[in-house]
Structures are given as C-alpha cells and as structure tokens.
C-alpha cells in the first residue's frame, strides 16, 4: 500500500529538530532510518501529519570511548556498529557488533539506526536488549533541556518508552563493559525479529563469574532481566557453572505473552534452551 499524505521537514541541528516537533505537535514524527516507521506508514498503521528528517544532524553518528563507557550517537546505523570491531574502541562491548548482525538483513542495517530501534522499543530488538544488558543511559534533548534515563526505566510497555513526543534521543551510553558475552536467538525465518532471545554477559575474576547480566527479549512486552538466574551465577567458579539451574530459573521467572494457546509454555521452553546456549557461548568467549 501507499502511505497517507504528510509534510516533510529536514532538521540540521538537534535544537532545530526539537523546536520543529514542539511546534508541529504530537501528530508529527521524527524519521531516522525509516526501517520501522516507513513499513508502518505503508500499511497505514501510522499516519503522521509531518515527518522531521533527523538524518542530516551531523554530530549524532559516532562511536566513542569515555573511560569505561561506550558512547554511541543515536543516528549511528546498525551497519556501522556491526563493522566496528576494533578492540581498542569496543573492548568490553564486543557483543555489540555481534548483536548487530542479528538485525534483519544488510539492506535494513545500512539504513536503520540504534536510536530508532530504542525509540521503536520492540521487546525483542537487539539494541533494546543490549541497552539493558550493558546498563545504558539514554540521553534525551527536549524543549525544556536535556535529561538522562536509565535503560531499566526506559521501557514502559510494548512499543512504549519514557521519552515524550517532543524529545529527541541523542546519545546512548553503555556503562558496564564485560569480558564475556553472548546472544542466543530463535526465529522461524532467518533475519526476522526473534520469537525469543537471551543475552548474557559477565566478567571473570579469579576464575569466578561476576557482574552477571542476563536479559530476555521477545517474551514479555519489554526486555526483562532474569534477576534470580543472575544471582545464581554470580560468584560461580568457571568450571562449575550451574547452567541447568540458571536456565530453569530464567524460564520460571518470565511471564510470557500468550496470544495463542500453549504459546506461553513454548516461549518458556525457548527461554530455557536459549539461556543454556547463551551461557555456554559466553563462557567460550572468555576462553579465546
């Protein structure tokens, strides 16, 4: 189908983008890569009155190190992150380029942006999971200035975030690097959003796991942390990780969406399997 009519504006600075949307009101929308918004417009599931193109704001397409933190501009494309494998830049965040490869396919990744993904807030989106796993701080720029929201407070429900309509997401600051990490996903067709996904990251100090993070995507309306399973693994010695226990605990801890009969049980089963896989793969990244 073809999209409904809309006005088109190009912003060249953050301030201009925010001023424009504040002026145009809630019916207007920012457009970044368009890889989520345009399909919805083509289906007429979205009918914005105006689009404000933010891709020409120059300084939001960057990946930088700030001490421990990795600071990524909101307009950085999936493809740029996928190909950013330089260990001096990505140290402790090697899982990010790996995760990018799970996003759709190359022609989607050449356009789609990390900021767009976090704003779209699909519960199985790789960047949404990574934001929780690496305790991201998301910086917003609005008409009343800037504020920062932690990833744990960002997701407010299905496709809904803490950002107001007139706030622009400008920067994602991943704060907690980890030595080991892995992402395991299942989808029925290669390149689709995952039916369920589990991401795991931890450090190994004196042969013991610490700073364990486990995030489950696609199972509840928002990406969730498997707190009990994390606690179970914290301090475990590398040679005796209770993978079984962690997987069972992760699966028992989720409250899966159920739109078809037996779907919840199925998703729980996937969480169990994917948690095992992700822990094994994460341990293997530490061996290299």
């Amino acid at each position: 189908m073809k999209p409904a009519r809309f006005d088109y504006h190009r912003a060249s600075t953050t301030l201009e983008a925010v001023a424009l949307i504040d002026d145009l009101g809630e019916e207007a929308k920012f457009i970044a890569g368009g890889q989520s918004l345009v399909p919805m417009m083509n289906f007429r599931l979205a009918r914005p009155s105006a689009l404000i193109d933010i891709m020409h704001i120059g300084d939001l397409d960057s990946i930088q190190r700030d001490g421990d933190a990795l600071v990524v501009g909101a307009l950085t494309r999936h493809r740029t992150l996928e190909t950013s494998t330089d260990p001096t830049l990505m140290g402790g965040f090697a899982l990010l380029p790996t995760a990018a490869r799970w996003i759709g396919h190359t022609p989607i990744r050449t356009r789609g942006t990390i900021g767009g993904s976090l704003m779209h807030a699909d519960a199985s989106a790789e960047w949404c999971m990574m934001a929780r796993l690496f305790n991201a701080q998301l910086r917003l720029e609005g008409p009343r200035g800037r504020r920062t929201v932690a990833a744990d407070d960002w997701f407010q429900g299905m496709f809904s975030t803490a950002a107001d309509f007139n706030e622009l997401l400008v920067e994602i600051r991943f704060t907690t690097p980890r030595q080991c990490g892995a992402l395991a996903e299942f989808s029925r067709r290669h390149g689709d959003f995952a039916t369920a996904a589990v991401a795991v990251a931890f450090d190994v100090v004196d042969d013991r796991l610490c700073n364990v993070g486990i995030v489950i995507g696609g199972v509840e309306g928002v990406p969730v942390r498997a707190g009990e399973a994390e606690t179970l693994l914290e301090g475990a010695s590398v040679g005796a990780v209770d993978v079984d226990g962690a997987a069972r605990s992760a699966a028992a801890g989720v409250a899966p969406m159920e739109s078809e009969p037996r779907e919840a049980a199925y998703r729980r089963h996937l969480v169990d399997t994917l948690t095992r896989r992700a822990i094994h793969d994460a341990l293997a990244t530490g061996v290299q």
């Binding site: 189908m1 009519r5 088109y8 457009i31 345009v38 190359t106 022609p107 356009r111």
Partner: protein
C-alpha cells in the same frame, strides 16, 4: 510541506531534477517518475528485497525510503548494469546457473550482490548464502543464485588489478 518538493537524484550516472510528493517512495520515484521499471515492488515493507537498489553504493530497500529523504544522493539500479545491451559478468552468471525463472526477484538480487561484492571481494559460499538471505525468491530455491554470485566473486578476485 505536503505539496510537492523538488529533489535532485543521480541515477545510473545521470542527474535528474524531479518534483515529488513527500509520500512517494524511492521505488516509486524510480518507476513512475523516471520510468525505470526494472526496480520491482513486492511487499512494500522491507521483507522481499525485490526493490533493492544501491544508494551511495550501499544496498537499501527502495520501498522504505521516501524520495525526499534520498534528495542529493546517487542511486544505481538494474538498468545501470548492462552497457549497450552487453550483460555484466554477474548477469551472465545468473543466466548460466538458472538463477532466475520468472525473474521478478532478479533485479533486487543483482543489486544486492553488486553492493556486497564491492565491499567483500573474496567471500566464502556460507557468507554469500547469509547475504543472499536478505531477499526472497519464490522460484529458484536459491542454489543457482548462490552459485552465480560465488562464481563471479571468485572470477573477479582472480582478475583484480594487483
């Protein structure tokens, strides 16, 4: 403005000044405004890849970009491949390997592969299969498509200027 805007597009090396409605996708700009109907439109939501073109040398879904967003960019479509009716090595390989039957998906696969080979000179068949999984073909079963791309990749690699 929802009224039409003037944009500049360089398509297959030729510069065009076009007046388009903001809601017109790049795929439709190419097909309707420029008459370049080689770029096909299947699903219009990014899944099938029939509309794949190169925008500033990168493969993109032309159904998921508005013409106004593409203003100022350089686009390559399937019409830009053959020179004076002489098919490229990749097009000939597609023919030889039966990489097309109805041909609906072919322009998308050709542009996807050209974009890929330009940045990945010596891919292995597994990587080619992964890359080609971006697009859908309802006829061939993909084997011929993968074979054609792998063959051309190897040939171009051997022929590269050293």
């Amino acid at each position: 403005m929802s009224e039409s805007r003037e944009i500049t597009l360089t398509v297959n090396g030729e510069r065009h000044l076009i007046v388009v409605e903001p809601r017109r996708t790049l795929a439709d700009v190419l097909r309707i405004d420029l008459g370049l109907t080689g770029t096909h439109v299947g699903c219009e939501h990014g899944i099938c890849g029939a509309c794949t073109v190169l925008m500033d040398d990168e493969p993109v879904r032309a159904c998921l970009i508005f013409g106004v967003q593409a203003d100022g960019s350089s686009v390559r479509t399937v019409e830009g491949l053959a020179v004076k009716g002489e098919l490229t090595d990749l097009q000939q390989a597609f023919s030889r390997h039966h990489a097309l039957q109805c041909g609906f998906c072919t322009p998308g696969f050709l542009m996807l592969a050209e974009g890929y080979l330009a940045t990945t000179p010596a891919p292995d068949p597994v990587a080619v299969r992964e890359m080609a999984s971006a697009n859908l073909c309802r006829c061939t079963g993909y084997q011929g498509i993968v074979d054609a791309i792998v063959e051309v990749a190897e040939h171009r690699f051997r022929q590269r200027p050293i």
